[in-house]
Symmetry: C2
Subunit: 415 residues, 2 copies
């Protein structure tokens, strides 16, 4: 599967998306086990790097940061990491000081099992808020992860790890990429779960990215931050950043290929963004109760930040989301939503298409074939493309439709 | 019906809410007619003042402002108004230059019928976006309103007017207030419809307030702006400011009582806020598909703006709204939502109650009786009261629950 960013040179194609997960880059292994946190399903995972890796992360801006976020943020501040231990079903959020101690203990126990310094181990949790971590089960899970890691029979291929981090996700979300830099090829791998607070009581977007590129902390920080801005910050299922959101990236240098030049940085950045956007779209599409991926492109904007704000606002509009569910090409809701935030624009010059069908031209409704519109909106992905004609900036955002099933799941779910 | 603001002196009670509408203050009449915009239902209204009135308004911040908003905004800029003509079913929004001409023509025709200068007439529309106003029907409606105004048999009591401005609202929203100032008593009346963009394709919060107080333009502007900030800006049904939102206030001075002192201003302001908050709550409660009024109080905030932002964010959280629908005392969602915006707070010290039942104390979950919680959440109004313990500021916001019916209405509605 090929990915090309619009700015990419047609001849060189220095980046490509490929099948794979966090174990795809050299020197990484990942495992999943059942620790008894949920019956019969994998619920704890380990990502391990053969070398201490440069470590960058972006973390939830929520004031109510979960304990594992606090612990892992300080690992990222130091900038080196060799292992990440993850549990699903319990978020260890709003659990106070004892919750923080539990996260530190989880980090220490994992480090001990892998014979690492605790400072090199990150932790991540996702699941119910406000319930103490069952530490006996966590310790058992860590022991099982260590056994798997020691075993020559259990593959560290990341398949079980990708499953173990899920909560109510309907599919595992993994992908990999290759980037061809000046001095060689590097690999990048990803596994992800959930989105925002889509999951009932779940605290919930976790993204893990590995690469065998050799890269400095400051460059990696910058690339991850910029990539997240163009991908995971552009998705919304129900709008709230959760208490546990993290995007973590480990770069262990095992390929021996270093990101040195500005060109290398650009190419690696393109691959990273492609991978992250792929993940973002997958997460949006797997939103709770969703039947459509909703993509909103805002172009002709004054600047990218404003175009992004407008695109994000449309994908989180309950009215637009409901219209997509009902296959209703309701352009009035889209324009009203675009107009509700950010810089003023001139509604009289706006163009709007839906899956290529023109709905508005220069602010005027275009007569369209209702049946054809319904058909187009029946596709898996519904793309609203808005041209503001007020500048050159553009941005894209992703979400999903709002369905009775979403309400049902979130209203009926027992605390 | 008594209304007391918390800052009000128990002995004096200088303001009270009473039954009534825009015709309650002296020198105002209001009429509703059927202009054939919708079958068998009232669909056009007139508010008329015997004297040119001081005129203030707040208008949608949406870039895609509807034509009547632009026309009425310039009336408010001049500051004098004697009549407002309103139609429902068609918003005259996204209708380009010809739509603007239609709004101006509607203003001129109403002025002619009442023998007023057009500059003294405001217009308001609510309904479908992107469809030209059927001007023949509008002119017919205006003629019928003029006939009613001339007639000695048709009462200008505002009852039909309150009905004529509704779209998919389930009830007319009217209320009145009395304020006792230093030199006498003044009356205030209100009629309102809809909320934000709750209505499918409808562009939709219209609030009309009349008073017989004598007040300067600058004082009225200030009181209306402050009142709206504490009321209509604190409600959310689905989050989007529409293309047509307006809150308009006419002060005709017919009582002969002038707002002169700072004390008068404070007392009148209290009555106005009480009336506006009453209207805001009524609008929120009548949100599409809603089964509960959701009230969120944030106290102990660093400042009012931040407390208001946090409260507004909780009432628009789809997860919180779904939990309210499902009678689930899901405090994790409330705290995650509070934490997602504005100034940082310390989750470890937060208190939270739901209809008086303690759910969190100093950030720790409190064991509660599940059955009792379900019962409390079955009440018409569900109040989450969050104390951040980080300051003295507080704010309240209102919304409604998110139901399958909301999705059904908004997905199924035909454009």
């Amino acid at each position: 599967m090929k990915f090309e960013t619009s700015s990419q040179n047609e001849e060189s194609k220095p980046t490509a998306l490929v099948d794979g997960n966090v174990s795809f880059p050299q020197g990484f292994q990942a495992y999943g086990v059942n620790a008894g946190l949920r019956k019969g399903l994998l619920d704890m995972a380990l990502i391990w790097s053969e070398l201490p890796a440069t470590f960058s992360g972006t973390f939830t801006t929520n004031s109510a940061k979960a304990a594992p976020v606090l612990v892992t943020k300080s690992v990222a501040d130091r900038g080196l990491c060799q292992a990440i231990v993850i549990n699903s079903t319990n978020a260890n959020a709003m659990t106070g000081n004892s919750g923080y101690q539990d996260a530190v203990a989880m980090q220490a126990r994992m480090a001990q099992g892998l014979n690492l310094s605790p400072e090199l181990v990150a932790v991540a949790s996702t699941g119910v808020i406000g319930v103490p971590l069952p530490m006996n089960l966590i310790y058992g899970g860590i022991a099982a992860l260590v056994d798997a890691w020691h075993s020559s029979e259990i593959p560290g291929d990341g398949v079980t790890a990708s499953q173990a981090i899920l909560t109510t996700d309907t599919v595992a979300k993994t992908q990999a990429a290759i980037a061809t830099l000046s001095s060689g090829t590097v690999r990048i791998g990803m596994m992800a779960k959930g989105s925002g607070m889509i999951h009932p009581q779940m605290a919930t977007m976790l993204v893990f990215i590995t690469t065998d590129a050799k890269v400095s902390k400051s460059v990696l920080d910058n690339l991850v931050r910029r990539g997240v801005e163009q991908s995971f910050h552009r998705i919304s299922v129900d709008g709230d950043p959760s208490t546990n959101d993290m995007v973590l990236c480990l770069a262990n240098g095992s390929s021996g290929v270093e990101i040195r030049s500005a060109d290398d940085e650009r190419i690696f950045g393109q691959a990273l963004v492609a991978l992250m956007q792929y993940g973002a779209r997958r997460i949006a599409k797997d939103g709770e109760g969703a039947t459509h991926l909703l993509t909103v492109k805002v172009r002709g904007g004054v600047n990218e930040a404003d175009a992004a704000l407008k695109a994000r606002t449309v994908v989180r509009s309950s009215l637009v989301k409901s219209a997509v569910y009902g296959s209703d090409p309701n352009w009035g809701r889209v324009i009203a939503s675009v107009g509700s935030v950010g810089l003023e624009f001139a509604p009289g010059v706006v163009d709007l298409t839906m899956n290529g069908m023109q709905l508005l031209q220069s602010g005027q409704p275009v007569a369209f074939d209702e049946r054809r519109a319904k058909e187009l909106m029946g596709q898996e992905e519904v793309v609203f493309d808005v041209d503001l004609h007020s500048g050159d900036a553009e941005a894209e955002a992703w979400g999903c439709d709002l369905t009775e099933r979403y309400v049902e799941i979130n209203a009926r779910y027992r605390t």
